[in-house]
Symmetry: C2
Subunit: 354 residues, 2 copies
């Protein structure tokens, strides 16, 4: 393995081309005040030596790295990974690189340490994409004091703080309203862990829909899961024990819905005839569940893209010394995807009802 001993620097290019480093710099940055033939000569040398400006040195003097810090959780899950993908796409299109930090225990991560690390690397802005669990976001009040802008993803809005969310509550409402429209009256919910803000939001949506329809909201219909298929299976078993007239369930994610499907099958219930099931997320597999799963799709890629655009806007404003800019709250509406776990195959025309 033979490596070039050192990188090529601007100095070497300057020497080789017989000009000053400043002139080379001007060529690199496409400044106008360079004679055409000089520019040409320098460009040739750059190409010949394979010179690449050091963005580290550049960052130092310009006070900006064109780097965003991303603090994420759960890339192995569908939503967060799509989210990261969207962030990367938009960042890359806007000329930003990403520094990635994945948190393993979102409920007790060392915020202080992570932020210091990011700031030491002079990121221009930070995307905080860790779910809000228990009190793990109490430090939010300090966010405006950070030397760089920060945007939160999927956390509770708060005045003066930039944020981008999918409207989980509205999603829960849509899922539940759909079940009601199918004539269901005893609608249970398998929630996510209730320490999660998003899980509570989805539950609120479920409750909204029931109340709007004048249906009773009972504790009896609520079971708390942990997002896993196993917990969905167990959750449905518990609901069925408690309430034999249960005719529908809103599972707060597709994995739990999958578990619930299995529990229904084992209990000898037909889906959707005896029991309708709605999920949340629309993972790619959902269309191939048995039966295919009705669910709520959220565009996490777009959410990531929007977050980067908003953060970039904040960065620009901050660089120009503007202090008047008010952080926005972005809210993305999810979408109901109807499949056979709520509507019997024969009734497919329902889909086109309106």
């Amino acid at each position: 393995m033979n490596r070039p001993i050192r990188r090529v620097t601007i100095k070497q290019v300057a020497e080789e081309a017989g000009v000053s480093t400043q002139t080379v710099s001007r060529v690199i940055n496409e400044r106008p005040d360079v004679a055409p033939e000089t520019r040409q000569r320098v460009k040739e040398v750059i190409a010949r030596l394979g010179y690449q400006p050091s963005s580290v040195a550049r960052s130092l003097i310009q006070g900006r790295t064109r780097t965003l810090g991303v603090v994420g959780y759960g890339v192995e899950y569908f939503g967060p990974s799509r989210n990261l993908s969207g962030i990367e796409q938009q960042a890359s299109e806007m000329g930003y690189a990403l520094i990635l930090d994945l948190v393993r225990r979102p409920e007790q991560s060392n915020v202080e340490h992570i932020l210091r690390e990011m700031l030491a690397r002079h990121v221009d802005g930070i995307i905080w994409a860790v779910p809000e669990i228990g009190g793990n976001r109490e430090w939010v009040t300090q966010a405006p004091q950070l030397p760089v802008p920060l945007i939160f993803l999927s956390t509770q809005p708060r005045p003066g703080i930039a944020i981008a969310n999918v409207d989980n509550r509205s999603g829960g409402r849509m899922a539940t309203r759909h079940l009601i429209e199918q004539g269901r009256r005893n609608i249970g919910i398998i929630t996510g862990p209730l320490s999660w803000w998003e899980a509570r939001q989805r539950q609120c949506g479920w409750q909204d829909a029931l109340e709007n329809a004048g249906l009773p909201v009972s504790e009896e219909f609520v079971v708390e899961g942990d997002w896993s298929a196993a917990s969905g299976e167990q959750g449905l078993r518990m609901l069925l024990e408690r309430c034999s007239r249960l005719d529908a369930v809103f599972a707060s994610n597709d994995q739990m819905a999958l578990g619930a499907l299995q529990a229904a099958r084992r209990a000898g219930l037909r889906v959707p005839e005896d029991l309708a099931i709605v999920g949340f997320d629309d993972i790619p597999e959902a269309a191939y569940f048995c039966p295919p799963l009705t669910t709520i799709r959220q565009d996490m890629v777009e959410l990531g893209r929007l977050a980067v655009r908003e953060l970039s806007r904040m960065i620009e404003a901050s660089l120009e010394g503007q202090t008047t800019i008010e952080p926005r709250a972005i809210l993305l509406r999810p979408q109901l995807i109807v499949r056979e776990s709520t509507v019997p195959q024969g009734n497919r025309t329902y889909l086109f009802r309106r």
Copy 2:
């Protein structure tokens, strides 16, 4: 939004503590030659001002950023996302930050551009985790000429190049041998896209197992999918048309196996009695398929961790000016997970046969 105008620098700390910047630097880096009370005083100032050394400036002079470049593909899929997770864990434990670049079209990504970008940011090493598709890795011969070490993930081994793989061929063999041991004799395969090296490896494993068992290997039994559930569904339909005595299928990933399960159901076949199905990956949902899916588990997290450790070893060697270090090829064996898609529920004892 009021931000601190500027960051605290070492100069301010030095001034405030009445020492030179060099002394502050010595305190930060825990050098021995500082008087205890001076050290104490400086530390207090650091704490009071909330000073954090700039790793940008540090990188510039030390010629090392403690940063790894990760070029990845498909974080929205299970394997790659776990892989990234493992990389991040190990890197973080070893004090490296990650710069992430996600490629969207792995078969025609701009390698040159990506590498230049990474090198401009002075990464200490690069992890290339983009699947090998068609000729998209022909540039591999230039890898040893890069100024920093590079390790490939999930690509064809090559002497002189560091690499870390799951043994896909062995996985394909295990899956197929398991089917043979179940008494199956007409075993089809739904492959991944055959432009993918990994897909071909899995197919080779299937062929190995058939040949070892003295079973005929026929083109008729091969259908090419595209990793999606839809292609798995269509794939099985085609296999069934071609060959009515088909009694088992190896689907080269779990999504395609899911599609195949649906196709089998629609064709009125019982799984596993009429048709046994094996997948590949062991996604978390696989255990909740209908029936639960036998599959090949690969530890992508561990693969990521190993890659980082190996890369770190190469970086250290490179920094010490060693040229003798020979890049290793890491090969991780996958594992067969037996579930009900190949073994009828009553026969569960099979699991403990040996």
